[in-house]
């Protein structure tokens, strides 16, 4: 067998493995995988290095913006989630906006890897109100590696949200944003100054305590960790205990990964108090989603309707 045949086999095998974790649609990733590793990097639009602040601002068209950050662990089999999300983005947007769960959502997507081993351990997009978020999602580089230490750099992503975002929702209205982290492992034990220098390019000021960081982020962000049944860690007591200690009832156990979009929508609706669980499940049925039972189970025990927003005004929302 000559080199050509081997190369064909190698290429085909890589594509089989990519298909197995569901990322063949993500052309940025496919392109990068054909390059030497030394050239792997986040797309400039998603690179957190040297970013001062990611902004979520009101506009004439979206005067009541609420920021939603959805950050995916993209290591290993978790790389399937951006794709699931991408396929259902329209649905998420529809539920949030057309069903009036939330006014003027601005969604940001990002990818989380392992800062100990990955070339691209963190990617963060912009808060977008339109279909640019789809493009952002597809541009996430699904490096898919991870260090195999049962931990990923979630805390680095959380740090970015806590310290590198500014939102009109908070500054003008004192309203929190939403942070969803989709993952299946533990935080790294500490966030070191070295990582902050390497990944974010900011001057080091000592290490950051992880528990303290999650307390801090929750002051401005309603923070949820979605643990999907995508790996053996779904049933791992250490993983569950770790996130319960940090977020309490906001650890959401998702039995069917395909329902992640619906889960995010209903979580927001319930927290906003714009729906109750029954209403939300009715909405899911109406839009043809078969994931009601999974979502109900994931949301069992999660507090609802803690805050009310101004009554929804269909006239202004305008059914664009």
């Amino acid at each position: 067998m000559g080199n050509g045949a081997w190369s064909d086999n190698t290429y085909r095998a890589a594509s089989t493995f990519r298909r197995a974790r569901g990322i063949d649609d993500f052309t940025y990733t496919s392109t990068l995988f054909s390059l030497p590793q030394a050239q792997w990097a986040a797309d400039p639009a998603l690179d957190p290095f040297g970013v001062g602040m990611r902004e979520s601002r009101d506009s004439a068209e979206h005067p009541n913006s609420t920021p939603i950050a959805v950050l995916f662990d993209v290591t290993g089999s978790m790389g399937a989630f951006p794709r699931i999300m991408q396929a259902k983005l329209g649905q998420l947007h529809g539920l949030l906006q057309r069903e009036g769960y939330l006014q003027d959502p601005q969604i940001m997507f990002g990818g989380i890897g392992d800062a100990d081993t990955d070339r691209v351990p963190l990617q963060v997009g912009q808060f977008e109100s339109d279909n640019r978020m789809d493009e952002q999602l597809r541009t996430i580089f699904l490096e898919g590696n991870g260090g195999g230490q049962k931990s990923e750099s979630y805390e680095l992503a959380t740090y970015f949200i806590a310290r590198h975002t500014v939102t009109d929702a908070w500054e003008k209205r004192g309203r929190k944003g939403y942070l969803f982290i989709v993952g299946d492992e533990l935080n790294k034990p500490v966030l070191t100054a070295k990582k902050l220098r390497q990944v974010l390019g900011e001057p080091a000021r000592g290490q950051v305590d992880v528990a303290e960081l999650y307390r801090e982020v929750q002051q401005r962000w309603d923070t949820y960790f979605i643990l999907p049944n995508q790996s053996s860690y779904f049933t791992d007591r250490q993983v569950r205990g770790h996130w319960r200690a940090l977020l309490g009832e906001r650890l959401l156990l998702l039995e069917d990964p395909a329902a992640v979009c619906e889960l995010i929508a209903l979580t927001i609706g319930l927290n906003e108090g714009t729906i109750d669980l029954t209403g939300g499940l009715d909405d899911l049925r109406r839009i043809g989603s078969g994931h009601g039972a999974t979502v109900r189970k994931a949301l069992t025990g999660v507090g609802t309707g803690r805050r009310m927003i101004a009554p929804f005004d269909p006239g202004r929302d305008g059914r664009r």
């Binding site: 081997w6 190698t10 290429y11 095998a13 089989t16 493995f17 089999s77 053996s232």
Partner: protein
């Protein structure tokens, strides 16, 4: 034939081992055990992608190489630490299985992080060595399986260029430990080890025309492999035992065992149940039931002794699934050989039951009762001290110098099974009279 139910015990873990030189029917036996239910996983514990275990189930035929032979029965595969994993071939096999209707084939596989990785570099080195041997070929599959094990030995010996390790000359300095599955998750180690391996083999590969992909391409595909396939150690296997029994599927035959086979016509692999026994002990499980698989006649691929060989050009024993591999050599058949079978059973440390296959093809009608060697009758080959290749070479010489003494086999399948049970002092508990799952009892 009389339809007796399989008497393989339920509930216990089962080692399925071949009592010949491979091709005994292990795959179909494993499939049949899996189809009967109660299996949590099929565990591959030796060999690598060179395995060719044929299963025909409901009209679907697959030759299993790295996937366990329980795949068509829906049973997941665990590739244990002593398995040699070849990710590129694993992907190709997954594609093939999906074309045959197995959904998400790769999701059925879990791999031990310590398993050694077979790369295109090993395959090219293996083929180059065989080419250089010319007529004295060992009958290798040319897939780099032996080379994978050999590099591990060369590393342990810290071989320098020209050093001879286990009869093979070292082409370079073995400066890096061998690649393992766990390295696929660590880009730095992966790159370093691939570079070192390529460097090590460069002088040998320069002598042949066997190209290899670039280190970049290999590193990339191995990272994809680690991202797509579940990697988990003994604890995963231990968890599986809570949901059912393990079927431990041996690859190759006991008579090819690296230490118990007929040197030098052996494989670089432990083909006895020894590794599998150690594995069960390690996860605190009771030892399993050893099911020895044999055909109603003897077969062999490639070079090496086969005292009972006869010329079957007329095709009394047509072969369903075995061809001739360029590096492996031709397909050979012989009479059922009780001398070899007794030796194989002893080499396994005993066998609890026999699976007798190919009862539809017992065309030879005779079996080897004993050998004539220099005027003496030989019924039993002595099992020498452990790991004594000198002794194994002497056994090879005995086989080469022996003439088989033949006796007639009964025509009836049940009488045949009873006779084999008596001759080998192990009961036949499972029989097959055709390649399909439905031919199994």
């Amino acid at each position: 034939m009389t339809a007796q139910r399989s008497q393989v015990p339920t509930g216990r873990h089962i080692f399925v081992v071949g009592l010949g030189f491979g091709d005994e029917g292990k795959g179909a036996t494993v499939d049949s055990l899996c189809a009967a239910g109660g299996a949590a996983a099929v565990v591959r514990f030796n060999g690598g992608a060179q395995a060719a275990h044929n299963v025909v189930a409901d009209g679907v035929h697959h030759t299993f190489a790295q996937f366990g032979s329980g795949t068509l029965a829906g049973v997941p595969t665990y590739l244990a630490d002593r398995m040699l994993v070849e990710p590129i071939a694993l992907a190709a096999e997954a594609d093939e299985l999906e074309r045959k209707g197995v959904r998400d084939a790769l999701s059925l596989v879990t791999v031990h992080p310590d398993a050694l990785l077979t790369t295109p570099i090993h395959a090219a080195a293996n083929r180059t060595r065989e080419d250089l041997r010319g007529i004295a070929r060992h009958g290798s599959c040319g897939r780099g399986i032996g080379e994978t094990t050999w590099y591990d030995l060369a590393w342990q010996a810290r071989a320098r260029p020209g050093d001879v390790v286990q009869n093979l000359r070292s082409p370079g300095s073995a400066g890096e430990p061998p690649l393992r599955v766990r390295d696929c998750r660590n880009p730095t180690a992966l790159r370093r080890k691939l570079d070192a391996l390529q460097q090590f083999y460069r002088p040998l590969l320069a002598l042949g025309g066997h190209g290899v992909p670039s280190v970049d391409a290999m590193a990339s595909v191995y990272r994809e492999f680690a991202a797509a396939v579940r990697i988990a150690g003994d604890e995963h296997l231990e968890r599986l035992t809570r949901t059912g029994r393990l079927i431990l599927e041996g690859a190759q035959g006991v008579l090819l065992d690296e230490w118990r086979g007929f040197h030098p016509y052996t494989t670089w692999s432990t083909t006895t149940p020894a590794n599998a026994r150690a594995l069960l002990a390690r996860i605190g499980q009771p030892s399993g039931y050893v099911l020895g698989v044999l055909r109603s006649y003897q077969t062999r691929h490639g070079a090496g002794p086969l005292p009972s060989e006869f010329d079957d050009r007329n095709g009394r024993l047509p072969e369903w699934h075995n061809g001739t591999g360029a590096y492996q050599g031709g397909w050979r058949v012989g009479h059922l050989d009780t001398v070899l079978l007794r030796y194989a059973i002893e080499a396994c440390g005993g066998v609890d039951g026999l699976a007798l296959t190919h009862l539809d093809r017992r065309g030879s009608g005779q079996f080897v009762a004993e050998y004539r060697y220099r005027g003496h009758a030989v019924r039993r080959l002595p099992l020498g001290p452990a790991q004594d290749l000198g002794q194994q070479s002497r056994l090879t010489a005995v086989l080469h110098g022996s003439a088989p003494v033949l006796e007639d086999l009964p025509r009836q399948a049940d009488q045949l099974a009873a006779l084999i049970g008596d001759l080998l002092r192990v009961r036949v508990v499972h029989t097959a009279n055709g390649p399909d799952r439905k031919n199994r009892i």
